[in-house]
């Protein structure tokens, strides 16, 4: 910005007509902050609640039914925060994956020439998009998952997955000498890069194409397997076992996914997938007919024209609003409080708040956490947008 522009805008701001409203706004805002702070101090004193963030170090005194890290009542509130945060990230991560896969499948189905398929997917989208998410979560939790078979009559799929009213059970994978698998994967990634480089060179020089994708998958499996044999990597499965205690059946061991987690995951994935499906459909439709005609006229068949022309352009239109949906999914994971899934909101803004009464600090921390996640995702989106923008004059 030139100096003269800076000077002009500075002068403009200090013109009376412009200066007074701005000053007023600032003044009122600052006044409001002071007002709130003063009241808060008075009120907290009256209730004998100290302020400050020291409470984070004190013992929480409450347990949580689902946590990725070791935790119980003897750990601190700070640790409770971490548990909540990890649970939020966990359900968000898997929710995003499922929603994306479902969304793309449904979105492409909407464009299918098969009328049955396209109408069915349209029905799916209209149904799940128009129902409140909280209602869907309640429905999954109170209706679907409650009606799963009881523990002693569990549904066992492929000797691998145990389904009953208490949750889903997977066998726990216990590795020994796991590092060798890591080495194997690292080595595979290295060879895959080499493969890509070599195959590009080959294509440039002779026009032959190698099946890079299939070869990569092969390599990704090959080297970890070889190295796990060499390094004597051991794998034990610890499947959940049915135990009877005073007439009550329980599965113990293995990995347990509680119904709270499952209900939230299913509802979030289904709900968000409808929006992603619409984005995918809009993205693919946005590619003008002319592009597809040009591809056809150059002799491309349907799958090549999709791969080289339609999808690269469609992704540019699909990804920004889809990233927005990911953001919504993370924020919507806070609905967990409705069914007792211990995510950040219910553990911290819910239980911890009622235990300590430190509403201001806790709400502040929770809001800042979500805000940071939002800003982080927005930053990535902006970076991506700049990178893939069509280069123009």
């Amino acid at each position: 910005m030139k100096l003269i522009d800076l000077k002009n805008s500075f002068n403009k701001n200090f013109q009376l007509g412009n200066f007074i409203p701005q000053f007023l706004l600032l003044f009122c805002f600052v006044l409001l902050i002071f007002y709130f702070t003063k009241n808060a101090q008075v009120n907290l004193l009256a209730r004998n609640i100290t302020s400050g963030f020291d409470f984070l170090k004190t013992n929480s005194g409450f347990d949580v039914q689902f946590s990725l890290i070791a935790y119980d009542g003897s750990y601190s509130f700070g640790r409770a925060y971490l548990v909540g945060l990890l649970n939020t990230l966990l359900v968000s991560f898997f929710g995003i994956i499922f929603a994306t896969i479902l969304g793309f499948v449904i979105g492409i189905s909407r464009l299918s020439e098969n009328l049955l398929l396209s109408k069915l997917s349209q029905f799916y989208v209209e149904l799940f998009r128009n129902l409140p998410l909280i209602l869907q979560i309640f429905f999954w939790y109170f209706v679907v998952l409650r009606n799963l078979p009881s523990t002693e009559k569990s549904l066992i799929l492929l000797d691998f997955l145990i389904i009953n009213v208490q949750g889903f059970y997977f066998p726990k994978f216990i590795f020994s000498n796991f590092e060798f698998i890591i080495y194997g994967v690292a080595f595979s990634i290295l060879t895959i890069f080499m493969l890509i480089y070599y195959s590009n060179k080959l294509f440039y020089n002779s026009g032959k194409r190698l099946p890079v994708f299939k070869l990569s998958i092969f390599l990704l499996i090959l080297f970890p397997v070889i190295l796990s044999f060499l390094g004597n990597v051991g794998l034990k499965f610890e499947q959940a076992k049915l135990i009877q205690n005073f007439g009550i059946f329980n599965y113990v061991g293995g990995v347990k996914l509680v119904p709270e987690f499952l209900a939230l995951l299913f509802a979030l994935s289904l709900y968000t997938s409808t929006f992603i499906a619409e984005n995918v459909r809009a993205g693919i439709l946005s590619i003008s007919k002319g592009q597809k005609e040009a591809a056809k006229s150059l002799g491309f068949n349907n799958s090549l024209s999709l791969k080289l022309i339609v999808i690269p352009q469609a992704l540019r239109v699909i990804i920004p609003p889809t990233t927005n949906q990911y953001l919504n999914l993370v924020k919507n994971s806070s609905f967990a409080a409705g069914i007792g899934y211990p995510d950040l909101t219910s553990v911290f803004a819910g239980t911890s708040l009622s235990q300590t009464g430190k509403a201001i600090e806790i709400i502040f921390i929770v809001m800042m956490t979500y805000l940071s996640i939002s800003l982080f995702i927005s930053l990535i989106l902006n970076w991506y947008n700049k990178k893939i923008a069509f280069i123009s004059k």
Binding site: Y204, G207, G290, A294, S297, F300, P312, Q313, S392, K393
Partner: protein
């Protein structure tokens, strides 16, 4: 002169739902011929040439290109399309690829040419259309005239034996029309079989062997160029010519 018949349309009829857009079209095109198709909008000119590379499907009649019959039973329609190049009114360059990538995409993926060779070929044609210096730029960075010339080069890279042009200069600013027409004239002089839908009558007079006038889905008049302009028979043709000349 026993030239090979490269395109044949016999009693071709097409409907869009109930709208009869092509009515009993009979047309034969011989190798090396340059044909201009003109007529008022909605007369079916674009639909006609789109039927030749099967971007549109006709319901009745025979369409034959290089002795291949085009109908719903045709296999390898892509291969046949590779021999017929098309240039569109809206250019339809692929915005996410550079100009040279636009040109090499099809030869390398469809004809499985080595990318190296495809690039050489592309530079050849880009030079012919006089935009070799824009090869690494992206379509959004080029003017309309440059984009259309790039589109012509892209079609030529498939080394087609027939070139179809669907109102190639209608979307261009006046000062850029000439550069595109010059390229098309060079192409014509080099012996390419061309069917051009256009209103550029000066170009028609200079380049075309035959001019076809279409109205309301029918070929109303079809004559060698000189005769068409000096001695139109049909009333509608005369009306049309009086409006545009």
């Amino acid at each position: 002169m026993n030239k090979q018949k490269v395109i044949e349309l016999l009693k071709v009829n097409k409907w869009y739902d109930d709208f009869h857009v092509l009515k009993d079209i009979d047309l034969s095109v011989y190798q090396g011929e340059k044909i201009i198709v003109c007529g008022p909008s909605g007369s079916g000119k674009s639909t006609l040439i789109r039927c030749i590379n099967r971007l549109e499907e006709h319901q009745e009649g025979l369409v034959k290109v290089h002795d291949h019959v085009l109908d719903h039973k045709t296999k390898n329609i892509e291969k046949i399309r590779g021999d017929v190049g098309m240039v569109f009114q809206q250019f339809n360059l692929f915005p996410h690829l550079s100009i040279i990538d636009n040109c090499t995409l099809s030869p390398s993926w469809v004809r499985k040419m080595a990318k190296k060779d495809a690039e050489e070929l592309a530079m050849q044609y880009l030079t012919k259309v006089k935009i070799a210096d824009q090869a690494l730029k992206f379509p959004g960075q080029l003017s309309g005239g440059q984009q259309q010339r790039a589109a012509i080069a892209r079609a030529l890279c498939m080394e087609p034996k027939i070139m179809l042009f669907d109102e190639p200069t209608s979307a261009l600013d006046p000062e850029m029309i000439k550069e595109v027409l010059d390229v098309m004239t060079d192409l014509a002089k080099a012996g390419m079989t061309m069917i051009v839908v256009s209103h550029e009558m000066a170009f028609a007079k200079e380049v075309a062997d035959r001019v076809i006038f279409m109205d309301e889905g029918r070929i109303v008049e079809e004559k060698p160029t000189q005769e068409f302009f000096s001695n139109p028979e049909n009333e509608r043709t005369k009306l049309f010519l009086s409006q545009i000349l």
